[in-house]
Symmetry: C2
């Protein structure tokens, strides 16, 4: 208990710590925009504001904590250089901050880390070494190498100055909007929400904090329930920015006092929120940054008529992944229809089919007509169609019409 | 000549007109963010700022001119209601402004207008009627119906108050950044750049104006060359927001005095810029809004070391189109590799092939293995592969390795 208390006090950044962090960070980074979103506000019958942390040079809020932490090192420590382990945004934060402050940085990334993130971290001037099969292996290697080399280890979240740096978001929010009712953000390690809650509740005590985690990676939510930091055997979410297996006991204690509501978000809802933010807010958001929007569905009643800030924590999503999210999202929202139809294998059959679709005002995105498909009768042929439609009702009416004109119609995946 | 002068004076909004527009618009819309972009700044060796007009409720700057214009109508005119013709952003601007000001709006859209844009305009509360096969047909219908019904016609660009509304962007820029060297924006009808140039050059006379048009729709550029407004027989660009065939003589005169440089942008460069803004600025931009970025390549020498503002005019791009742009962009930048390989039709052949690709650290996005493909020999089979790679060098080395292990390798489309 005593140790716990001490850990918490060591970690918990207060308003003055965060104000000090801001004075430093002002020299290096621009304040991020807070943008009102009309569509979301009308949809959820409240005032929704988006804090665009994806607009930072490295595309995520991690630039704040990492840069501030490095700035607090002594001249001697700076000479020794820094080291960290990360598969993503923290790596880029440490690389960016080190470059600005002229400090040598060594980043240990797991061997399977996304190639784009390795390339981006190298492009920021850091030395990158690949070690181990997962984040935890990389972490162990980095800790060992810190001892060997004397480099200063920069934690991703369990550090008072890291938390103070992330907390500067809260100071900006308090200046950018008055009378905020809810601040909603996602939790991986929890550094972001520990810092933001400290700042915003000091300045606007009425603010309620809503924290979200992915259903497939609920390390902090489980720790809060059990009143003890736990380690998940594995994390399963495409929101890689918050896939943290080992919760921090110190941060658990901070968040257990400050968070008013915890929400778990499933993968489909995260993907759908990425697509909604793209279409309705015109911003690119990574999985971790999309959770706060998904949380609105589960807080509909509480937030009605209130002023709600969603922290859009980052935008580092691979465009290949985005492309898949768009495809799946269009299918899910009924704007992309996949069907397999069986038609007679006679000249003109395909033409009649496409003509029928054209008359329904649907756009054919893909048609695979495979006469050699081995499991159909000799006088039949299957066509796999991907259509663009206006929405679920339009899709349903197309299916109805086509059913009357083909031998068989099945929904595709 | 005299008529021309008069037209120009009638159209040309001055600083005080634009300030008046801003006083009105302040009640309805938020100032849009001006965001520094580090990646673009380093890439072009200058300071690049993005003016995010895609963040408006309707996703484009058209909200400014339309809302201000409607606000200037007399109480009597407002009672009569408004009418306009548009296939896209202006329609949404008029619908939005009319709703705010409690004015009845009728929008004439061409029958082929994107379904999404029709739906969005209706969702804003306007009545939408579909007439004619192209914009010009819809325009003629709207003008005729204005006479019949007494509704006030709201022009898309050729109107002093519309231009004053768009000009408010220039006032915001002057407040958000000092000592701007270049403002780069795209031109369809030219209302945007007529207004912006008036405001910014009145407040910061040193600013040079760079205007871009799509190579497939250069109505204003051709008009400037010929010193006379022309009409293109057709427009061919996916940047639908600036596909304007008929140039305005009045706006031609304004822009001929104010624009320092005209730049034409090809379709591939527009698509590539959409992808760059998505990945490096985390924003969704439509074709018309991406031209200013593409213009940087053609002004590299002039802008070196300068402060450059790109007006990101809008973000209303269909996600189906975006999905195609991502796919094409990844192929073009060598990060997605499409190849067709011929392998022996023996058990284990496909497994050996995929194993080889795995060892090259490429990710298989799609593999179509079609044993029934009718044009190959009986003992051979073709596999169409789509691979995710780290870039052109990685792609080249994969091709080199595979060539030594397959019967034939062809690059796919």
């Amino acid at each position: 208990m005593k140790t716990g208390k001490k850990t918490q006090l060591d970690l918990d950044a207060g308003l003055s710590d965060i104000q000090r962090a801001r004075d430093v960070l002002k020299k290096y980074i621009q304040q991020t925009p807070l943008v009102y979103n009309q569509w979301l506000s009308e949809t959820y019958d409240c005032q929704v504001y988006l804090k665009l942390e994806n607009m930072h040079p490295i595309g995520s809020f991690k630039i704040r904590g990492a840069t501030y932490k490095i700035s607090t090192l002594s001249a001697e420590e700076k000479k020794l250089g820094v080291i960290t382990a990360s598969a993503g945004n923290h790596a880029q934060g440490v690389a960016w901050g080190s470059k600005k402050l002229n400090v040598s940085a060594l980043i240990i990334m797991p061997r399977h880390a996304p190639l784009v993130k390795v390339a981006n971290t190298k492009a920021l001037g850091a030395e990158v070494q690949l070690h181990g099969d997962c984040y935890d292996d990389a972490y162990d290697t980095a800790k060992a190498m810190a001892k060997e080399t004397g480099r200063i280890f920069i934690p991703a979240f369990e550090d008072k100055n890291i938390i103070a740096g992330q907390g500067t978001i809260g100071l900006e929010l308090a200046e950018q909007a008055d009378k905020i009712d809810f601040v909603i953000g996602s939790v991986g390690g929890g550094g972001l929400m520990a810092g933001v809650s400290a700042a915003i509740q000091a300045l606007q005590p009425q603010v309620k904090i809503v924290a979200c985690q992915a259903l497939g990676s609920p390390s902090m939510i489980e720790s809060i329930k059990l009143k003890k930091a736990i380690r998940l055997p594995s994390t399963e979410t495409f929101a890689d920015g918050i896939a943290v297996a080992q919760a921090s006991e110190g941060i658990r204690k901070i968040l257990s006092e400050r968070v008013d509501q915890w929400i778990e978000i499933d993968e489909d809802s995260i993907a759908e929120s990425v697509l909604t933010l793209l279409e309705k807010a015109k911003i690119l958001v990574e999985g971790a940054g999309a959770l706060p929007l998904a949380a609105l569905n589960q807080t509909r009643n509480q937030i009605k008529g209130k002023k709600v800030v969603l922290i859009i924590s980052g935008g580092n999503i691979d465009v290949n992944v985005l492309s898949r999210i768009i495809d799946l999202g269009l299918v899910r929202t009924g704007r992309r229809l996949r069907i397999n139809v069986l038609i007679p294998d006679r000249p003109g059959s395909l033409s009649r089919l496409t003509d029928l679709i054209g008359k329904q005002e649907a756009n054919i995105l893909q048609a695979i007509h495979d006469r050699n498909e081995p499991f159909t009768k000799l006088d039949q042929t299957e066509v796999a169609l991907t259509l663009e439609t206006r929405g679920p009702e339009h899709s349903a009416s197309i299916i109805k019409v086509l059913k009357n004109h083909v031998l068989r119609l099945e929904l595709g995946r």
